[in-house]
């Protein structure tokens, strides 16, 4: 519930749009119920007046029928436009909000959310939050308001009928969906789990078909997939056996409410407490009122999904950033010698030290290399220098200024980073380069690409600098992507260079090209390079070995 309130607070700036959409929904439902009820009343009144020969003022109801018909149609159109406008505004607001809260957490707190699977979960969760208003809020609030108005109107004729209507509306709109959901919860969860297994199975087959064939497991895998598919259908069947009767019962509730209304109203008509035309009006009114609760089962179901999504999103958002920014940040350093003294760091208070008693001094323009096994702490050291992770003991100073006194952004502003998994955005080469220097001129871009030794290749692409890279665009080779990232580092022109396995995964020829580009980039910059490539180490002056969080100068 608190999650819901938190979401609603986010929605506040759009309250007017949201309320307008709900108001229009109410108008549409009321017009619809009014139309059938008035039509029933009208023809009964006309018939009785025809039979009795009494004159009747028929212009108003006849015009009313037409007006309600138009109101209903036009209202529905306006309602759909307004609710969609509201949804799209919320969507924009939600994304910006999510992004703004995520930004301070990257990358330290997000490392557990790496990998496509989790990212796609965030994606699905954000999408289901997008639907909160349209699928959940608007129909429920509109239903509540309409029901109050409809029942109040009915009470003017008969309180008893009004209460019966209310009771059955509650049955069909609230009790039945809740019971159904309860019953279907177990099989629903199972269906989700089976579906995930099935997905894993098919993905495995697509990836590992060769191994399945070589190791004679293809037939078994087919059996597994078939069995999972059958179990999925069995689970869905159980749900169909719940949903089908529920739909039947919802219709039955509406009909029973009308039947009971008739049984109560008939004696009242006989007694003269109600007029003849009131009877068909009441019957059709009660039946029509169930239109208000029709979207509720879907809304309840979506509510569960949305709240679960909200809980997961909030859990990410509510993480504390690892690093508190200084209250009174110091001025940016003017020298760029890096000094690390007795540095110790661990990821959580109860985990082992990732870095222990590290001492390291690099003069401005100095170049060092760090080697060591996977997991020895090399990347942790870079994360600490870049202020992505906090350290517990010791100090790091840059040009004599403690990193603790600098804003993270300032520190990162003087560092250019090239890592194995350097990210190229799904956009043009130009935009990827502009990231490093937003106002860069064409000549500057060309110069950076030339320095990175990729200008000729970029020029040979049909779209040149406007070539889209990444998933939807042209696939660059590993070496090309790496050199575009180097061009980006040239553009950034930062005094400190941080290189994390810059040639990993490249073949010998690409590696040579990348190293040549790196050699130029390193001129006059303070450099820390992590690598286990001997050729890369030729570019540095001193080599250190990292071993279980401790740093030692290499003897070699």
């Amino acid at each position: 519930m608190t999650d819901l309130l938190r979401l609603l607070r986010l929605f506040r700036p759009y309250a007017l749009w949201l309320l307008a959409g709900i108001g229009l929904s109410v108008v549409v439902i009321l017009a619809n119920v009014g139309l059938v009820a008035l039509a029933g009343w009208f023809i009964a009144a006309m018939a009785l007046s025809g039979l009795s020969g009494q004159l009747i003022e028929y212009f108003t109801p006849a015009a009313g029928i037409r007006a309600l018909a138009i109101l209903r149609t036009g209202g529905r159109y306006a309602e759909r436009l307004v609710t969609h406008e509201a949804t799209l505004r919320l969507l924009a607001a939600l994304r910006v909000w999510f992004y703004q809260h995520l930004e301070p957490l990257a990358p330290a707190r997000l490392q557990y959310y790496r990998g496509g699977d989790l990212l796609s979960r965030i994606r699905a969760d954000i999408d289901s939050l997008d639907n909160l208003y349209l699928r959940v809020l608007a129909p429920t609030i509109a239903a509540a308001v309409t029901i109050i108005l409809l029942v109040a109107f009915m009470a003017a004729f008969s309180v008893k009928i009004a209460l019966i209507d209310l009771g059955f509306l509650g049955l069909a709109g609230v009790a039945l969906p809740l019971v159904t959901q309860r019953l279907a919860r177990w099989s629903g969860r199972r269906a989700v789990a089976i579906r995930a297994d099935l997905r894993a199975g098919v993905t495995d087959t697509a990836r590992g078909l060769g191994e399945l064939l070589v190791y004679q497991a293809a037939a078994r895998q087919t059996e597994t997939i078939t069995a999972l598919s059958d179990r999925l259908i069995a689970g869905q069947r159980r749900q169909a056996w719940i949903a089908g009767p529920a739909a039947g019962l919802a219709g039955l509730a509406a009909n029973l409410a009308m039947g009971l209304a008739l049984i109560i109203a008939i004696p009242l008509v006989r007694r003269g407490d109600l007029t003849g035309p009131d009877l068909p009006m009441i019957a059709l009114f009660v039946l029509g009122s169930f239109e208000a609760v029709a979207p509720l089962p879907a809304a309840f179901q979506a509510l569960g999904e949305t709240l679960a999504a909200a809980r997961r999103i909030f859990a990410i958002i509510d993480t504390e950033p690892t690093i508190a920014e200084p209250a009174h940040p110091a001025d940016p350093p003017t020298r760029f010698d890096l000094r690390i003294t007795n540095l110790s760091m661990r990821y959580t208070p109860d985990s082992p030290w990732a870095l222990r008693h590290i001492d390291l001094a690099i003069p401005e323009g100095g170049r060092i290399g760090i080697i060591g096994e996977t997991g020895s702490g090399k990347t942790s050291l870079l994360n600490v220098i870049l202020r992505f992770w906090a350290f517990q003991e010791g100090s790091i100073t840059l040009g004599g200024v403690s990193l603790r006194d600098l804003r993270g952004e300032t520190t990162r502003g003087v560092c250019a980073v090239l890592a194995q998994q350097t990210y190229l955005f799904n956009t043009t080469i130009r935009a990827n380069l502009h990231l490093a220097r937003p106002g860069a001129t064409e000549a500057e871009l060309h110069d950076a690409l030339r320095q990175a030794q990729i200008l000729d290749e970029v020029r040979s692409f049909p779209a040149g600098l406007d070539t889209i890279v990444g998933e939807t665009g042209m696939r660059l080779s590993g070496g090309q992507a790496r050199r575009i990232a180097i061009a980006r580092a040239f553009l950034k022109d930062a005094p400190i260079l941080i290189l994390d396995e810059p040639t990993e995964g490249l073949d010998a020829v690409s590696e040579r090209d990348v190293l040549a580009a790196l050699e130029r980039l390193m001129q006059g910059r303070t450099t820390i390079m992590i690598t286990h490539r001997p050729q890369s180490l030729r570019l540095v002056e001193r080599v250190f070995v990292m071993e279980r969080g401790r740093l030692k100068q290499s003897k070699g």
């Binding site: 039509a39 009208f42 023809i43 009964a44 006309m46 018939a47 025809g50 039979l51 006849a62 029928i65 037409r66 018909a69 209903r72 149609t73 529905r76 159109y77 969609h84 799209l88 924009a92 910006v96 992004y99 930004e103 990257a106 990358p107 699977d117 990212l119 297994d197 894993a200 098919v202 993905t203 495995d204 697509a206 990836r207 078909l209 060769g210 191994e211 064939l213 190791y215 004679q216 037939a219 087919t222 069947r237 169909a240 056996w241 089908g244 739909a247 039947g248 219709g251 039955l252 009909n255 008939i266 006989r270 096994e373 992505f388 350097t422 990210y423 990231l435 998933e471 073949d507 050729q535």
Partner: protein, 586 residues
């Protein structure tokens, strides 16, 4: 994107494909239509009973006791309708479930028939989406859309049969307005659909932009651009909202028109009946009966609008499935020979060419022999064609020209399973299947736990496996315990040890491993190679130094061959690469 624009002809042919499956579910599909029709008849009956009750009370001035029997009948109708509704849903599900099951089987069988050479180039996530979400998206087409299409014809016609005798003018209004609804729906819908599809792409792009920013957040941060990005996201979303609303204003017109005709027609019927009653041209009972039927007459037509969406979704999903099924699987000629296993095999590539597309050769004139017990290495720059050679050898690809001979037999004449039974293969990126470690090592082989453990020990994997939370029973794979690249390699190596095959094919077994792990795996490979024939594709040259022969591949050709010493002496590509790398401690 499932809803990419497609031509009408394409949509037609996709729908024809979807309809093809109705043959297999004729029984449940007919049953849903029948129950739906019974529901329609019960609806008319209910309207008739209600009209008689109200007529009895307000025109005939009957008391509650007099209409009581009618009320009982009404109650019975209510219950019958509820049962019919439930049945229609359940049977509709059965129809859809059978089709989904059949299509999934067919699609999966086709996926396996296409073979590893094909699926290697596809995104496994996309294939899974097609086979799971894509097929689920067909559900409503069979469960709802098809039955509703039949009922959209039957129910209005059935209602007309009752309306005409009761009040023919209302019947005329209905007959005239009814065809207008689908007509306008088609006219307005077509334009809107085009716009809609363009919008879908835009949504996909906007969404991609947002998630691209999230994925690259660290990089943005490194460039100090992360906070400005929030404004970009706001702008992109806002731009999307404005264009979407422009589209929706048109798109919603189709339902506006639909509603308009249905609602105005009902209002007209009501007003006409009212005046006919006033002038005593009509009795109340038939008049009220027709009024009750009027909304029911238009309801199935209006529902068509919403089920139209189910149709579009199914067609969008069908497109992906049909694309998969339409990809031609290599149809192997029936193997001409029974597997005639020779005690020791000699493998020969005879002038083998390979190309996916004519004119774009991947391999040209590959010619070599691999003798029993020999250790042969393939080296060369990435993209040279080394992996393609291994795929040809495994039979996942067929040569475009030339012959691969096993002993004296053409590989194409051997039953694939019999050939693969003699090979152990370690691919470039081994797959960890979702399941336990022990099942991952065993795969299709029958071996007891002790044998698996022995194989794992030989692969240098036993130690880290026993340290996993549940040892050999730890669930690994996409949603299980994460393993490092080196650990996955060792599990894959354990498979090879367990299989104990004559021929071992290794594809870059040490790519992107740190030196210590690479050394560990190198030692295991040494053990594995003993007394076996081996083809090894190498990334790091130190792992091929001890090979009996090295083939250097470049641009799809064998450019050099010989042992390490003679290749170094040649001062060709191998010597250059070796000098570039210098991984080998002197």
């Amino acid at each position: 994107m499932a809803n990419a624009p497609r031509s009408r002809a394409e949509a037609k042919s996709l729908e024809a494909w979807l309809r093809g499956f109705t043959r297999t579910v004729r029984l449940p599909l007919t049953a849903t239509i029948i129950t739906g029709a019974i529901g329609g008849v019960l609806l008319v009956l209910q309207a008739w009973l209600l009209a008689r009750i109200i007529d009895g009370v307000i025109i005939e001035h009957q008391a509650l006791q007099q209409v009581w029997p009618l009320l009982i009948d009404l109650l019975a109708t209510f219950i019958a309708r509820a049962i019919i509704t439930a049945l229609t849903d359940i049977i509709g599900f059965e129809a859809a479930a059978r089709v989904k099951r059949a299509i999934r089987r067919q699609a999966y069988a086709h996926l396996t028939a296409l073979g590893p050479a094909w699926s290697r180039h596809e995104r496994s996530g996309d294939l899974a989406t097609t086979l799971i979400d894509g097929i689920e998206a067909l559900d409503q087409y069979y469960a709802r859309y098809l039955p509703q299409m039949a009922l959209a014809v039957f129910i209005p016609l059935a209602i007309l049969v009752f309306v005409f005798p009761a009040y023919w003018i209302a019947g005329i209004i209905m007959v005239i307005t009814a065809p207008l609804i689908p007509l306008f729906m088609i006219i307005v819908g077509k334009g809107a659909e085009r716009l809609n599809q363009r919008q879908w792409r835009k949504l996909a792009r906007m969404s991609a932009y947002f998630f691209d920013a999230i994925e690259g957040l660290t990089t943005l941060k490194l460039f100090g651009a992360s906070r400005a990005e929030a404004q970009m996201i706001a702008d992109v979303s806002d731009d999307y909202r404005i264009t979407t609303m422009a589209v929706l204003r048109v798109a919603f017109l189709s339902s506006l028109v639909l509603e308009f005709f249905a609602t105005i027609s009902i209002a007209m019927v009501a007003v006409y009946i009212g005046f006919a009653l006033y002038y005593r041209e009509l009795h109340f009972l038939p008049g009220f009966f027709v009024l009750l039927l009027a909304p029911e007459f238009y309801r199935p037509l209006r529902n068509m609008g919403s089920s139209y969406h189910a149709r579009m979704e199914a067609i969008g999903a069908a497109e992906q499935i049909v694309r998969l099924l339409a990809t031609e699987a290599p149809t192997p000629d029936a193997p001409k020979t029974e597997a005639a296993p020779e005690p020791a095999l000699t493998l020969r590539f005879e002038q083998v060419d390979f190309a996916y597309q004519p004119g774009e050769p991947i391999l040209t004139g590959i010619d070599f022999t691999l003798a029993p017990g020999e250790r042969l290495a393939l080296v060369g720059p990435s993209g040279a064609g080394k992996t393609t050679i291994s795929q040809l050898l495994l039979g996942f690809l067929e040569p475009s020209r030339g012959i691969i001979r096993i002993g004296g037999t053409d590989l194409r004449d051997l039953p694939p399973a019999a050939w693969l039974a003699r090979i152990a293969w370690l691919p470039q990126r081994p797959t960890l299947f979702h399941g336990s470690v022990i099942d991952n090592i065993r795969l299709g082989l029958t071996a007891d736990a002790a044998a698996v453990r022995a194989a794992a020990a030989q692969a240098g994997a036993d130690h880290f496996i026993t340290n996993l939370p549940q040892g050999y029973d730890t669930i690994v794979g996409e949603r299980g315990q994460g393993l490092s690249g080196g650990e996955i390699q060792r599990i894959a190596l354990a498979r090879a040890f367990l299989k104990n095959a004559e021929l071992i094919v290794l594809d870059e077994p040490d790519a992107s491993l740190d030196p210590a792990t690479a050394a560990l795996i190198g030692a295991s490979i040494e053990r594995l190679a003993r007394d076996r024939t081996m083809l090894i594709i190498a990334h790091r040259l130190e792992s091929v130094r001890h090979a009996d022969r090295i083939l250097v591949i470049d641009h799809g050709r064998i450019v050099e061959f010989g042992d390490h010493a003679s290749l170094i002496a040649r001062r060709g590509l191998y010597a250059t690469m070796s000098a570039l790398r210098q991984d080998v401690p002197a």
